[in-house]
């Protein structure tokens, strides 16, 4: 996968021409943003809470080893089997081996961005194991064979008519394009999968070191099904999701759903500490946790460490003037919007995704809403600087910028060129060569006007 400037511009043109897409992103981002503002407004002091969460994330990432080891110790004591995966393929292999050893050929899943990151579904299918996505939005994009387009609303780009077509095909009967009916159809269709599945696969929102607990936040109830009914529960979670104490996890949770969906808390906050214990009537017999690195550790201690404080709420997507025009698919990564424009090149290659750091006006709206106050504009700039240094930009543009900067350091030359440009037709000539609209230059520069009679005192 390569997303360079011309490719991204092509994606952009396609997205801008798609009226349905434009309408649906506009609605969704507006709803999410309004909800977020209202939900944070309900808190006694959301700003102080955000400051606190920023410190919590920074302090944890500074000493991640300590917290991961403590998590591992406590989770193991609670009966969780902890696995470590250096990269996507190791993580997929671990999950596949767990399924194969138990003769499992079908798994139920909850929405998980890490699962998208490591392309777990295609790995499972390749190994002959059928993954069933159970989050409504995720099921829709699975049936459409598309990636999710928003980190918390995977099918935000789909209309109810499109969903009705997908469901009718899948279920072999005509399903009405009515949202309640479609939701009911998914409930009926997936109930059987929940009851028969032998393995449930989830991501995880938070890992609490103090007790070895996995926190899983959902609204639909599928997360509870997946972690309560099958005898085996496997969670794949990035190593950065750990937090030392419950006190800190509670601060995190207090901001997560408010920032994501505008809910004070999601409907189900599921705190899982190991498999079912003796005497419990149900719950999984085995819980496995795969701790995924996949490049994360290589950015700790660097200028990009801050990025790994991200709690994946999606608030930055909803206010981004770029994301809200192009949608998630234009980024060709599970992580889109401002957080994706930084995280995607870090995880999947700065060379391959060279357009993404350019896909921003550096307006700063993302920083305004981030519950962790992650300075995304700073890191976008950092990536751009690296691109210049590594020669990843088109040479002509680089040459033009360098030349312009050089002229700017020579005021006399700058003034002379200004006069010359006006003598030889102003912007007309330049317009022949420049592939984007530019304004007419004025007849006189301000330098000239300053010396004119108009401004004499």
């Amino acid at each position: 996968m390569r997303v360079d400037l011309p490719t991204f511009r092509a994606h952009t043109r396609a997205a801008l021409a798609d009226q349905l897409l434009q309408q649906s992103i506009e609605n969704a981002s507006g709803n999410f943003s309004d909800g977020r503002e209202k939900a944070l407004g309900d808190l006694p002091d959301s700003e102080a809470l955000r400051d606190q969460l920023k410190l919590i994330r920074a302090a944890t990432l500074a000493n991640l080893t300590e917290h991961l080891e403590e998590f591992e110790r406590n989770a193991t004591a609670a009966g969780v089997v902890v696995h470590w995966a250096q990269d996507a393929s190791e993580a997929c292999e671990i999950v596949i081996a767990l399924a194969k050893e138990r003769g499992i050929s079908q798994v139920v899943k909850t929405k998980s961005m890490v699962s998208e990151e490591i392309q777990l579904n295609s790995a499972l299918e390749g190994a002959g194991i059928r993954p069933v996505e159970t989050d409504l939005g995720e099921w829709i994009v699975q049936l459409a064979a598309e990636p999710p387009s928003h980190i918390i609303a995977p099918a935000v780009h789909k209309t109810k008519e499109q969903v009705a077509d997908l469901f009718s095909d899948e279920l072999g009967r005509s399903v009405e394009a009515d949202i309640a009916a479609l939701t009911a159809a998914a409930r009926d269709a997936l109930r059987g999968d929940f009851l028969s599945a032998q393995m449930g696969i989830t991501g995880g929102n938070i890992l609490v070191a103090e007790s070895g607990t996995l926190v899983l936040v959902t609204n639909e109830g599928n997360g509870r099904m997946v972690t309560s009914l099958p005898p085996v529960h496997v969670a794949v979670v990035g190593i950065e999701k750990v937090v030392p104490s419950w006190e800190q996890a509670e601060v995190w949770l207090s901001l997560l759903s408010r920032s994501a969906t505008g809910q004070p808390l999601s409907i189900y906050t599921n705190l899982i500490t190991g498999p079912a214990r003796p005497g419990e009537l149900d719950g999984p017999q085995e819980v496995h946790l795969v701790l995924l690195d996949n490049q994360r550790s290589s950015y700790l201690g660097t200028q990009f460490e801050e990025m790994f404080g991200c709690i994946r709420c999606g608030a930055c997507l909803n206010v981004c003037p770029v994301y809200t025009k192009v949608g998630g698919h234009a980024y060709r990564s599970p992580y889109s919007g401002p957080m994706g424009a930084v995280l995607t090149p870090l995880l999947f290659g700065k060379g391959q995704f060279s357009a993404l750091p350019q896909a921003s006006t550096l307006c700063g709206a993302c920083l305004d809403v981030c519950p962790v106050r992650i300075d995304l504009p700073r890191m976008l700039l950092q990536l751009r600087e690296e691109q210049v240094e590594a020669g990843r930009l088109p040479w002509l543009g680089v040459w033009v910028e360098r030349a312009a900067a050089w002229v700017m350091t020579k005021p006399k030359l700058y003034r002379m060129l200004s006069l010359l440009a006006r003598k030889f037709g102003g912007t007309r000539l330049a317009k022949l060569f420049i592939p984007f609209p530019i304004p007419e230059i004025s007849q006189q520069t301000f330098h000239q006007l300053w010396k004119s009679r108009e401004l004499e005192e």
């Binding site: 709803n31 309640a180 190593i239 690195d293």
Partner: protein
């Protein structure tokens, strides 16, 4: 070297001094936790009922079960739910206590239209109940039936998730579930639909004095 070792080595090499975390100023909450609980739960499309005592709670429950025309209720095997003669209180309704092995309990839960459980705490600010897994208990009672009713002593309300820390079990149970309303989704066109995979109706009866 194992993946674990390699990852931990890399992280250890990157460790650096951490910023210190300032303690949060204690937030100021409305005094009336019950009112806040009711408002928040109803905003999340749940429903709350207030009862002065347990007797009255049963009365409200009976009334609610009648009005939603419940026929089968599965009840969590815990006090005070199992200590009263439920068939006598709800003569029209088939009541079963969730006991037995996994499959037996599942059958009961799938056949029931209502699951009835306790909760170990309530969070006023978010209108949530906190339910612990434990020996003799089933997670399916609150999950599989279309309706979930919860009986919660009002005295167990705490202001919010952050203050819940003071009553959080020091040994975490295998599962602690914080439920803040009926299951829902807005995954299609951002339109809220109540009742996704979990219960479509979620009601809490708060009883007793605070």
């Amino acid at each position: 070297m194992s993946a674990r070792q390699e990852i931990l080595n890399r992280i250890r090499a990157a460790a650096h001094p951490a910023p210190s975390i300032l303690p949060l100023k204690p937030p100021i909450y409305a005094n009336d936790l019950v009112t806040r609980f009711v408002t928040a739960l109803e905003a999340a499309k749940g429903k709350a009922h207030l009862a002065d005592n347990l007797e009255q709670a049963w009365e409200i429950l009976r009334h609610r079960l009648e009005s939603i025309q419940a026929r089968r209720v599965v009840v969590s095997d815990q006090a005070p739910l199992k200590e009263v003669d439920l068939p006598a209180i709800f003569p029209e309704i088939e009541v079963s206590i969730a006991r037995g092995d996994f499959k037996t309990v599942q059958k009961l839960c799938l056949a029931a239209d209502v699951g009835l459980t306790n909760a170990q705490a309530g969070l006023a600010q978010t209108g949530s109940v906190v339910i612990h897994a434990g020996a003799g208990l089933s997670r399916q009672v609150s999950l599989l039936p279309d309706v979930h009713f919860v009986l919660l002593p009002a005295a167990l309300l705490v202001p919010d998730l952050i203050t819940w820390e003071s009553v959080r079990p020091s040994q975490m149970p295998s599962q602690v579930l914080i439920i803040s309303g009926p299951s829902k989704t807005a995954d299609i066109e951002q339109t809220l639909v109540v009742g996704a995979h979990g219960p479509k109706r979620f009601e809490v009866i708060l009883y007793g004095q605070r």
